[in-house]
């Protein structure tokens, strides 16, 4: 390119405040290969883009450098504008003088000098740019949803209703997630099971949805539109095709005393079980760790009693590979517990609350199970230690949340609302009971949310105490709650029958491992990161992967469902096209010089390098060289860095370009 235009943006004042943009434009005009340079207040605005287009036409430009913000922000914008004038979009590049310069410097002189250097670099690169053709790849119109909580269910149903195939992978034996465990839900107090179960059944019956429960993601390969996902279907020990869900096996299993995790270990279940009666699918699994047959080879009762002979002790884990175009991650959350944590963990337990050893100190989800009609007490509020009905219940908010000294600084967002709900459910069931709530402040934004909270206080007579609890200890059959009421400045001590902790919402254990398989990023708490906090809240930075629900951060059901539908809409947008255009920033092998060491093949994280045979006209093999599949190459440049003879280079980032950039300084 020998007639480059340089356009220096003020970004309002974002750049021009620290960088003398006029001087940058003047310096740019004198650079080799630059035919035209100017500055403008907002290059990305409509008049800014028009200015660019006009200049390309008037000055017959063959390359463009826009010195402005990050290419992540506007590279597409300017490439499109350049393309509209007939220019190849890939000869238009951005010089980032905002994030890399004006925002991080104070001295105007020095910042201006640096901005000029950055423009020099990019002009040197554009001079050696090649006119690249966009690469098109086909789109597999089949979505994978990971996690079958309400988020995953909603996303799967939306995508399937739009006519696309969906593969839903759930780790547990049944879909449902946390919502299946809830009793009634704020802000309307409708029964969670009643609104949830129909959706679960819809998933099971939907002709477009393939459901893999008791399954996990083993491996993810490929890229947007063309992922290959291997799913490990754990051995259920029950043949899904044969089982009629009659439940005889569960009734006859002699192992009955296994704590039921679904009921927060309050009830028990047999070794062959479905986690809860409304489970989808309604096919039991054998918990091999607790099954007598698997432990000692004796028993085998379930196999004997099963009419259709569905029990199969020899079943093995099965690996299935699915071709997938888009992925929605909806793996939800875990609840923080006050138990002691490993020494190297940044997150601490609560010694002052007895580290979880006081039986009548429970968490919110345990309370949900107590209040649930299908729970272990049949919906009666009975405390775990002696099964008595508690008359004084203390609820403590922000346990773990907003507690920097415990290692979590964020707000869990849902606890204010569910604690208010808990006080009401309690009052509805124990009319002569009294609920107390220790809280820092009430965070109840949301439609009808504040009204709901006020109702807990004004109509259901919960006593809210603004302050923190410093200690909990057992005294006789009471739990003593020592706290402070900061609104009046006094110490309070309550002898409670039951204490309910609103513990923090945390990322799933192992969320980081899944993220590494998927190649998506996560924050320091292991919540998955969206591509942009405001403008791309459901997209991952990795193309073709979307987020739904609490795996991205604490969320209540309305937010979760909205995000799930948004993620589904993004998938449908992707599936609306048959072909996908992608940036042609891919590696290319110089076959003449490739020595076929295949170091590149070994290091390529995308598996894009193949061995290619070069034959003469008679078909005799002349040599084998490396070859990059442009559809698979992620443009990371690892091969280029590895190749000892530099026989493979990334288009747009060739050694020649990079060296020229260095030399331009």
């Amino acid at each position: 390119m020998s007639r480059i235009g340089v356009f220096v943006c003020h970004c309002g004042e974002n750049i021009s405040r620290t960088v003398d943009v006029e001087r940058v434009a003047q310096a740019a005009a004198r650079l080799p290969g630059v035919a035209y340079a100017t500055d403008y207040k907002y290059m990305c605005s409509d008049p800014g883009q028009s200015l660019l287009k006009k200049a390309i036409a008037e000055h017959n430009l063959d390359g463009v450098v826009v010195a402005a913000c990050s290419p992540r922000m506007h590279e597409k914008t300017f490439r499109k504008a350049a393309e509209a004038t007939g220019l190849n979009p890939f000869v238009c590049e951005m010089a980032n003088i905002r994030e890399h310069c004006s925002w991080v410097h104070e001295d105007r002189e020095e910042a201006t000098a640096k901005a000029i250097d950055i423009v020099k670099l990019m002009a040197a690169r554009v001079r050696r740019n090649r006119r690249l053709a966009a690469i098109t790849v086909p789109v597999t119109k089949r979505a994978l949803v990971i996690g079958g909580g309400i988020a995953g269910i909603q996303a799967a149903l939306d995508i399937a209703d739009a006519g696309h195939e969906v593969v839903l992978v759930e780790r547990e034996p049944s879909i449902g997630g946390h919502m299946a465990q809830l009793s009634e839900t704020f802000p309307t107090l409708d029964c969670s099971q009643c609104i949830m179960t129909p959706k679960m059944v819809d998933v099971a019956n939907h002709p477009k949805i393939t459901l893999h429960t008791y399954s996990e993601i083993e491996e993810v390969g490929g890229y947007i539109g063309n992922f290959q996902v291997t799913v490990r279907k754990k051995a259920r020990s029950v043949d899904m095709a044969k089982c009629t869900g009659c439940g005889v096996c569960m009734a006859k299993c002699p192992q009955k005393k296994i704590p039921n995790a679904f009921d927060k270990d309050m009830g028990t279940r047999p070794a062959i079980y479905v986690p809860f009666p409304q489970a989808v699918p309604n096919t039991p699994v054998i918990d091999r760790e607790n099954c007598t047959y698997f432990k000692s080879g004796k028993c085998g009762v379930c196999a004997k009693v099963c009419g259709p002979c569905a029990v199969d002790y020899t079943q093995q884990d099965e690996l299935v590979t699915e071709q997938i175009g888009a992925i929605v991650v909806a793996t939800g959350f875990d609840l923080y517990s006050i138990e002691p944590k490993p020494a190297d963990s940044p997150i601490q337990g609560y010694g002052e609350f007895g580290y979880g050893t006081i039986p009548d100190v429970i968490d919110g989800m345990t309370f949900e199970r107590l209040a649930s009609a299908s729970g272990p007490t049949g919906g009666k509020i009975l405390r775990p230690s002696d099964g008595k009905e508690p008359k004084e219940v203390v609820f403590i908010q922000c346990v773990g949340s907003r507690a920097r000294e415990k290692g979590i600084s964020y707000c869990s967002k849902i606890c204010c609302m569910y604690t208010a709900k808990h006080t009401m459910l309690y009052k509805h069931k124990v009319h002569d009971g009294q609920a107390y709530v220790f809280f820092m402040d009430a965070r109840t934004p949301g439609k009808n949310y504040d009204e709901f909270w006020r109702r807990a206080i004004e109509e259901e007579e919960a006593v809210y105490i603004r302050g923190m609890v410093s200690r909990l200890y057992q005294k006789g059959d009471k739990v003593v709650v020592m706290g402070s009421d900061i609104s009046v400045g006094i110490q309070v001590e309550i002898e409670a029958d039951l204490v309910v902790l609103a513990t923090a919402v945390q990322a799933r254990k192992g969320a980081d491992t899944l993220a590494q398989k998927l190649g998506i990023s996560y924050d320091k708490y292991n919540f998955y990161s969206e591509a942009h906090a405001k403008l791309k809240p459901v997209e991952c930075a990795t193309a073709g992967i979307y987020l739904a629900g609490a795996c991205q951060g604490p969320k209540d059901i309305p937010d979760t469902v909205s995000q799930a539908s948004a993620a589904a809409a993004k998938v449908m947008t992707l599936f609306a096209k048959d072909q996908l255009e992608r940036e042609p920033i891919v590696a290319r092998v110089n076959e003449r010089f490739c020595a076929a060491c295949f170091a590149c093949k070994k290091v390529c994280p995308y598996g894009a390098v193949e061995e290619k045979e070069i034959r003469d006209r008679q078909g005799n093999l002349i040599r084998v060289v490396a070859s990059v599949n442009p559809g698979v190459c992620g443009g990371c440049g690892t091969c280029q860095a590895t190749c000892p003879s530099k026989s493979v280079e990334l288009d747009g980032y060739t050694d020649e370009q990079v060296m020229a950039m260095i030399e331009a300084l």
Binding site: R592, F593, C594, A595, A596, C597, F598, A599, K602, V603, R623, V624, T642, P644, S645, K646, S647, D655, E656, M659, A660
Partner: protein
């Protein structure tokens, strides 16, 4: 494995009559392979024109195979002829190669780098007690003063993984460990002194590229040092370019160099190239527990990232 007891009692010179047995065995094996048609050619050594020398040879008939020899003059690493770049050799068909223990390591390295398939080559290993150092007196028996430096501390006298092993080892004397001492001296230097040491050596380099021509791992079709668009390494023998060339050489061979010391032998300027190779090898051994050429490896340590990699050197 070397019998240590034998080593201590052994005389200070090596009885080179043992090499005659190796010669016989190589000739017999080569003739057999060629007669059977199992290979198209055997890469081995024949006597050089001057007395006491040997040169590499590619023999294609059983008669010619009778010219093959093995002696302390057989210094070359014949693995060099098996890289893909040596098309005229590989074009002949299936090959057999005579390999000392140190050469075996290069063969294993080449297999790991897709240059060579194990099934495409018959390896005639030789039990080698040592070879002459460069410029050594070749009339005297092999002893302290004329044995190659690399052979003094050799741990692969008996090659492992060959198809056949020719000859047997004579008793091996203990030699002074000059290589280990040299490496210890290098490591004892301050970084500044070490930099000055290499700078001085590299400044003498005349860029004849003999070291590269003899290295079995320098098989690139075009070396990055010969590229001119863009030029990564200045081609003329001037200090900056010399330094760049030697850094590229050291880095490209790190974790791959088999320690045959052919580069050092070839260098007309007596630059201690193998000292640098050995230093790099030691670093990789300490950092990643990696030793080159003991077996064909899928990935070398510099092409691989593991979470438990030692990263303490990143400061």
């Amino acid at each position: 494995m070397i019998d240590l007891a034998k080593k201590i009692e052994a005389p200070a010179t090596i009885d080179i009559t043992a090499y005659a047995g190796a010669t016989e065995a190589i000739r017999a094996e080569a003739a057999k392979l060629l007669t059977e048609g199992a290979v198209a050619a055997v890469i081995g050594y024949i006597p050089g024109r001057r007395n006491g020398t040997a040169i590499p040879a590619i023999v294609t008939s059983p008669e010619k195979a009778q010219e093959l020899i093995f002696s302390p003059a057989c210094v070359n690493n014949l693995a060099l002829y098996l890289t893909r770049a040596k098309k005229e050799v590989k074009g002949k068909g299936r090959l057999a190669v005579v390999a000392k223990g140190c050469d075996m390591r290069a063969l294993a390295g080449l297999m790991g780098e897709s240059q060579l398939k194990r099934e495409d080559v018959v390896i005639i290993g030789v039990a080698c007690a040592g070879v002459y150092g460069s410029g050594a007196d070749r009339d005297a028996p092999l002893a302290e003063k004329n044995i190659a430096r690399k052979c003094r501390e050799c741990r692969v006298h008996a090659p492992e993984g060959a198809d056949v092993v020719a000859g047997s080892l004579p008793p091996l004397p203990e030699f002074s460990p000059v290589e280990a001492e040299e490496l210890a001296r290098l490591e004892a230097m301050t970084p500044a002194a070490r930099w000055a040491f290499w700078k001085e050596h590299f400044s003498r380099c005349i860029r004849c590229m003999a070291c590269r021509s003899l290295c079995p791992f320098c098989y690139c079709e075009q070396c990055i040092c010969d590229r001119n668009r863009p030029q990564a390494v200045e081609a003329t023998p001037r200090p900056a370019g010399n330094m760049a060339w030697h850094i590229v050489r050291a880095m490209h061979l790190a974790g791959r160099c088999a320690g045959c010391a052919e580069c050092e032998r070839a260098c007309p300027m007596d630059i201690p190239l193998n000292l640098l190779n050995r230093k790099m090898a030691r670093e990789l051994k300490e950092l990643y527990g990696h030793e080159a050429g003991l077996e064909p490896k899928e990935k070398g340590p510099l092409n691989e990232y593991r979470e438990d990699d030692d990263q303490s050197f990143i400061k």
